[in-house]
């Protein structure tokens, strides 16, 4: 058997629907149609009344999920594309994220954001918005980069008492496969060493894990042993695992598909510099998407985001300082 990243999302939702009567799914076209990406395929049929089609009202979708969470349910909201979470942004950051702090009443809900560029997606169907959400207090932000993680972390997200921004990567939906679903999982909030090495640490997450691994492979041919850390969760950040890795390698390159200013890579580099300056043998570096909207044409798109090739080039430069 082989399971895709998308299939793992569907199976995780099927499982929480089956095991937890508090769970329901709300989003545009998630019902009989099974969702724009088919992440909820057949779920409406299997769980009648618990997979609910929403109008094109992201503000009200999130608002209603918050209300349901207050009443003890565990909503999973599917936003059709991460980009369309912006009209729901206010409810997410000002209502969901503040509820527990203001009232002591937790707000357990999961907002699934199909994120990231695909060729031809263009400026409004490709965004990686994790940094916006991580900046605002009161949210957890997850960005699984493997089939196993997307499955176990989604199940975990539903079990948590906080609002979770769950950034799925569309590029991984159909192509990333695993042999089986995991039985055990790393605890939430723990980063993972995706590839061990001793010459440099690449810290990244989501689809960029695979670009980083490919870059590490490329550099291995040149005799470098590159460690790749998959953050998995962006808020909270597992600084300990990153720091331990940098302690081993002395070099850091943070890789993100999102925009540079204030992104994950800024936060990682700032933390390592503040707490682990003495561990660094060379200046910590970052590589990100370019600071423009995401272009439509594949040629431009491929140049806009980091790739194995540009990561390897950046790593090579950093290895030589």
């Amino acid at each position: 058997m082989s399971v895709t990243y998308l299939e793992a999302i569907r199976l995780a939702q099927a499982r929480v629907l089956a095991e937890d009567p508090r769970v329901f799914i709300y989003g545009q076209d998630v019902g009989a149609f099974g969702g724009a990406f088919k992440a909820t395929k057949n779920l409406a049929e299997q769980f009648p009344g618990r997979v609910i089609d929403a109008p094109i009202s992201e503000d009200a979708i999130v608002g209603a999920a918050i209300g349901a969470a207050i009443e003890g349910l565990r909503p999973i909201v599917e936003i059709q594309f991460a980009d369309f979470s912006m009209p729901g942004f206010n409810q997410i950051v000002n209502q969901a994220a503040t509820l527990y702090w203001r009232t002591g009443v937790p707000c357990p809900l999961v907002i699934r954001l199909p994120s990231g560029g695909t060729s031809g997606g263009g400026p409004f169907h490709s965004q990686c918005l994790e940094a916006l959400y991580a900046h605002m207090p009161g949210l957890l932000v997850m960005a699984p980069g493997t089939v196993e993680d997307v499955y176990s972390m989604l199940i975990e997200a539903v079990a948590l008492d906080d609002p979770v921004i769950f950034c799925e990567h569309k590029l991984l939906y159909y192509h990333l496969k695993a042999d089986r679903l995991p039985e055990a999982a790393l605890p939430a909030g723990k980063a993972r060493i995706a590839r061990p090495g001793r010459d440099m640490t690449l810290v990244t997450y989501s689809a960029m894990v695979h670009e980083a691994l490919a870059a590490a492979e490329e550099l291995a041919a040149e005799g470098y042993q590159i460690e790749v850390v998959d953050l998995r969760v962006l808020k909270p950040l597992d600084t300990d695992t990153v720091m331990a890795s940098v302690a081993r390698t002395g070099r850091l390159l943070a890789v993100g598909e999102a925009w540079p200013w204030g992104g994950v890579t800024a936060e990682i580099v700032a933390r390592v510099a503040a707490e682990g300056l003495h561990l660094l043998d060379a200046p910590p570096q970052r590589i990100n998407a370019k600071d423009t909207p995401i272009p439509y044409h594949p040629n431009l798109w491929a140049a806009h985001r980091p790739t194995a090739r540009s990561i390897a080039a950046a790593a090579r430069r950093a290895l030589q300082t």
Binding site: R50, P55, S57, D59, A60, R102, L160
Partner: protein, 357 residues
């Protein structure tokens, strides 16, 4: 709630003139007396807040309900225990009638750590979500969908029968959230009662800069919901319309939109002298003080004596002074006692910044 005595002992206006012997009051009279007493309690509480504000005892703004007590109390008394209420800034009366205590109102405004918001949030941003009393966020319109979600949840859980009321001002109807919220309720046919207090101004902005329809109730048909108009200065009419709307929602007729016309008889907040309010409006029927109108009703119909009224007001004052005396003994919030985290999940609090050494 139908009867103030049931809703909360603490907040119950105590004492008060019972009807004289042989003078059995109708249920309508009883309800009206009860609603009026919530109005008085709210008015006196608001006056106290204003004086605390002027005395520099309250941090930030103070927003009063003056002129809106009839409408707001009518909502509170139309709801039942177990219902949901999302009040807005001018709902002191409705909050009290729904079960908020004077002490929690004062604690929130004074920033007591013993209040429901624990000094973290203040003034009108107070509530107890688990008890169906939602603490508004400031962003207008944002509470409607939350009420929808609570009602939806109860339906999914097989606990129907409750009604959710959400309040909004004329200005709030211009938000996208209002539209998405009422439309969502209509699609799901939820027992939502959306009450719009059209008080002629949003801060300084008159309604002609807020909408171009004849009456906001004209919006109901466009959502496929039932619309109701009320004279917001007339307690009896407010009570009748709200009871009707809440009843219809409860009996499965779907969302109800109530639009009440009235005039804000105070500034937007206590910092605002409201000099922009059109004097003609003040002179008009809309400018009547609903409290006086209610008193005329009570006296005119023989449902209360002037002595009753004076007694109730006195009781309200006594209740508020007592609560204030208690609240003023509360400790101040201590930043060193704060957990300084917005995350409920123990193991998942972000490590930066590290706690101060």
């Amino acid at each position: 709630m139908d009867d103030p005595i049931q809703c909360s002992t603490e907040s119950r206006p105590s004492g008060g003139g019972a009807p004289g012997p042989g003078q059995a009051l109708s249920m309508e009279a009883d309800r009206c007396r009860s609603a009026y007493r919530w109005m008085v309690l709210a008015r006196v509480l608001d006056d106290k807040l204003a004086s605390l504000y002027r005395g520099g005892k309250i941090h930030g703004g103070v927003f009063l309900s003056r002129g809106q007590e009839a409408l707001s109390a009518a909502i509170g008394v139309a709801l039942q225990r177990g219902d949901i209420f999302a009040p807005l800034i001018r709902d002191t009366a409705g909050r009290l009638a729904f079960g908020e205590t004077v002490a929690e109102a004062l604690r929130t405004c004074l920033g007591s750590p013993l209040g429901p918001m624990r000094a973290r949030d203040g003034n009108v941003h107070r509530g107890r979500p688990r008890d169906g009393l939602l603490p508004m966020i400031s962003h207008l319109g944002a509470m409607i969908a939350v009420v929808n979600g609570m009602l939806l949840a109860r339906r999914l859980q097989g606990r129907p029968g409750s009604v959710g009321a959400a309040c909004l001002g004329d200005g709030g109807t211009s938000t996208g959230s209002f539209h998405e919220g009422i439309n969502q309720a209509a699609i799901e046919r939820l027992p939502l009662v959306l009450v719009i207090a059209d008080n002629q101004y949003a801060y300084s902005t008159p309604t002609c800069r807020q909408f171009a329809c004849q009456s906001l109730v004209d919006r109901a048909v466009g959502y496929g919901v039932q619309g109701h108009l009320a004279d917001g200065t007339d307690l009896l009419e407010c009570m009748r319309v709200l009871a009707d709307a809440v009843g219809r929602a409860r009996s499965g007729q779907g969302p109800q939109m109530v639009v009440a016309r009235l005039l804000r008889l105070c500034g937007h907040g206590e910092h605002d002298d409201a000099s922009y309010v059109d004097p003609a409006l003040k002179e008009s029927e809309l400018g009547r003080d609903c409290l006086q109108v209610a008193e005329e009703i009570l006296i005119g119909r023989g449902w209360a004596t002037t002595a009753d009224l004076a007694g109730w007001r006195h009781d309200a004052q006594a209740q508020i002074e007592a609560a204030l005396a208690e609240v003023q003994r509360d400790p101040q919030p201590d930043p060193y006692q704060e957990t300084w985290t917005a995350i409920a999940s123990e193991g998942l609090r972000d490590g930066y910044p590290a706690p101060p050494a």
